[in-house]
């Protein structure tokens, strides 16, 4: 409780709550209404402060919601034409060449964006259906591409001609040939989509700007919004390979610019740096297995045994030094916890910690703090 009995005018007018109340925005209406009954000797001060707040009122400018919205849209339109300038963090002094080329690259990006905008506008003006050939895609010039844009609020299901399924997230766009021909199935994604690919001998490839995701038959999610900093691929089941589009069109070449991902693993492509790294999905799920599933109920079970079981159940490699943890026996029921919760609990019990490196879980003993 504030010392209201000794409040000065100054205290009142600087009291945000009091101000809110005078201006009619208070959620303590009854408190302030009964204030003078509680502190009758404060009447004079209270009244002066109240008058002051009223007197400092300024009439609002006439500005309609529609005007504000119009200005916000104008901003979005203009801002879309700019790829924001992003320098690599604390770039060391570089040779001239390396400082010039990213600029060059940005220029091209800006031009490309402009081109896309122009194409987009002419596309809009010609008022076509959602299905539209995209002649400006060089790689696709021979094939007839169709485009689906999801401008609804819900994910949109798209079935491709090989009966693979795509769940296209809102604000996302997928371009794909009406009929897959040749020796690969290629689609182009902007935004986010989850893929369920039918297994076929022709690889299925998702192009997202500078990154390509290549699979044979599996389920995975690609997120590649223009304005996001990263492109991510999350693998739900099966095996996926991810590589940079620039390096080589053929993933078969043994370039290091690619990654192989298994279930519950994810790839992260940082657009600014062009780095491709392996990590884990946000919430790894249990692999579907035919054999009986692990119950995750443990009674005096050595930690290494539990970790091996987790490794198998989630299909994620777990690295640790067997000897360090052989003596740790765990009694716990972990059936309802997520993988990370399980790891948290196990590590706590065994005084260990874990980290995720290169799509694997690495467990190490915690450094013991000096006793006091």
């Amino acid at each position: 409780m504030k010392p209201y009995e000794s409040y000065t005018i100054d205290d009142f007018i600087q009291d945000e709550d009091f101000r809110d109340w005078v201006q009619g925005n208070s959620n303590r209406e009854s408190f302030w209404l009964s204030f003078l009954q509680q502190y009758p000797e404060q009447w004079e001060t209270f009244k002066h402060a109240e008058r002051f707040i009223r007197a400092t009122n300024v009439t609002d400018e006439r500005l309609s919601e529609a005007e504000v919205r119009k200005e916000a849209n104008r901003f979005i339109e203009r801002a879309s034409a700019f790829i924001p300038v992003r320098h690599p963090a604390k770039a060391p002094r570089n040779t001239e060449q390396s400082t010039v080329s990213p600029f060059d690259f940005r220029w091209k990006l800006a031009l490309a964006t402009l081109l896309t905008v122009v194409l987009g506008i002419s596309w809009y003006l010609s008022r076509p259906d959602l299905i539209q050939p995209f002649p400006h895609l060089a790689e696709a010039s021979k094939k007839q591409l169709v485009e689906t844009i999801n401008d609804t609020q819900q994910p949109l299901r798209v079935v491709l001609n090989d009966s693979s399924e795509v769940l296209l997230s809102p604000k996302s766009r997928l371009r794909y040939p009406a009929q897959f021909t040749g020796n690969s199935r290629t689609v182009y994604l902007t935004g986010e989509a989850s893929f369920s690919v039918k297994r076929q001998s022709q690889p299925f490839m998702v192009f997202t700007g500078e990154m390509v995701t290549r699979v044979l038959g599996t389920r995975f999610v690609v997120r590649a919004f223009d304005l996001d900093r990263n492109i991510t691929v999350q693998v739900l089941s099966g095996k996926v390979s991810v590589y940079k589009a620039k390096a080589k069109q053929e993933p078969v070449s043994k370039e290091v610019s690619g990654l192989i991902l298994y279930a519950n693993q994810a790839a992260l492509f940082e657009k600014t740096v062009g780095n491709l790294t392996k990590t884990l999905v946000a919430n790894p799920s249990l692999l579907i297995k035919s054999e009986k599933e692990a119950s995750f109920v443990y009674d005096e079970v050595p930690l290494p045994v539990i970790l091996r079981e987790l490794e198998k159940s989630y299909g994620i490699p777990i690295q640790f030094d067997e000897q360090n943890f052989a003596a740790s026996r765990i009694t716990a029921t972990l059936s309802s916890e997520s993988l990370y919760e399980k790891l948290d609990l196990l590590c706590k019990a065994a005084s260990a910690s874990y980290e995720i490196t290169d799509g694997q879980i690495v467990i190490s003993p915690q450094r013991v703090h000096a006793q006091k």
Binding site: S6, Y7, T8, I9, D10, I13, E16, R19, Q23, G24, N25, E44, T45, K47, H48, R51, F52, I53, R54, A55, T56, N57, V58, T59, D60, E61, L63, V68, R69, E71, A72, R74, F75, I76, R78, A79, S80, F82, P84, V85, R86, H87, L227, D228, R229
Partner: protein, 199 residues
């Protein structure tokens, strides 16, 4: 006055904007627009000019997102940026015929007491008197009162917006309040206005 975006939400949006989300920045613009516009109109009452300046500062924020740091208070920061942008633009306009850009920029606010809920004649009279006094304060003091009580900024934030030290802001407000009290007693028809008596 519509409800303002809670500072925490603004912070969150600022964070998202800084990590490259254009729509977060658009949302920041939308939710601060009326405050910015009101402030801009106080500095130069030309609707289109103010709107253009607001566009420019947001476009700049977007282009410069890499070098933009986290801010303590998004609204106060935007008010500062808008002010300097407008003063710069106005100086450019003026240099055409007047090369001296003085520190004395115009600021015009007309306080209009909100008396529609007061029934007592005497109360309305008292409030109007006070309103008159405030409207006749020097410009800087009016700006300060406007920032404190209309824009609801803290002393710290006002110091940033007005390019003053925090203590100067505080002193200036005390000065305003004191002179209000003095004015009041001189032309106040013998009424004694106990302003800050308890302080």
């Amino acid at each position: 006055m519509s409800r303002r975006l809670p500072p925490n939400d603004a912070q969150q949006l600022w964070q998202e904007y800084r990590s490259g989300d254009m729509y977060a920045l658009a949302k920041i613009m939308q939710s601060h627009y009326s405050d910015l516009f009101h402030w801009g109109m106080r500095l130069h009452a030309d609707r289109e000019f103010v709107k253009d300046c607001i566009q420019e500062i947001f476009l700049n924020l977007w282009k410069m997102q890499e070098s933009i740091r986290p801010v303590d208070n998004v609204r106060a920061y935007l008010l500062v940026v808008l002010k300097s942008r407008m003063l710069r633009e106005l100086a450019k306009k003026q240099t055409a015929y007047n090369s001296s850009v003085s520190d004395e920029y115009a600021f015009s606010v007309e306080f209009a007491a909100d008396v529609h809920l007061i029934e007592e004649e005497h109360e309305i009279y008292q409030t109007r008197k006070l309103e008159y006094g405030i409207n006749h304060l020097p410009n800087r003091q009016k700006e300060l009162i406007y920032l404190r009580f209309y824009q609801n900024l803290s002393f710290e934030q006002i110091a940033d917006v007005m390019h003053l030290g925090r203590q100067s802001v505080y002193n200036l407000l005390q000065k305003s309040l004191n002179s209000l009290r003095k004015n009041w007693t001189v032309n106040g028809l013998g009424l004694v206005f106990y302003f800050l008596t308890g302080a």
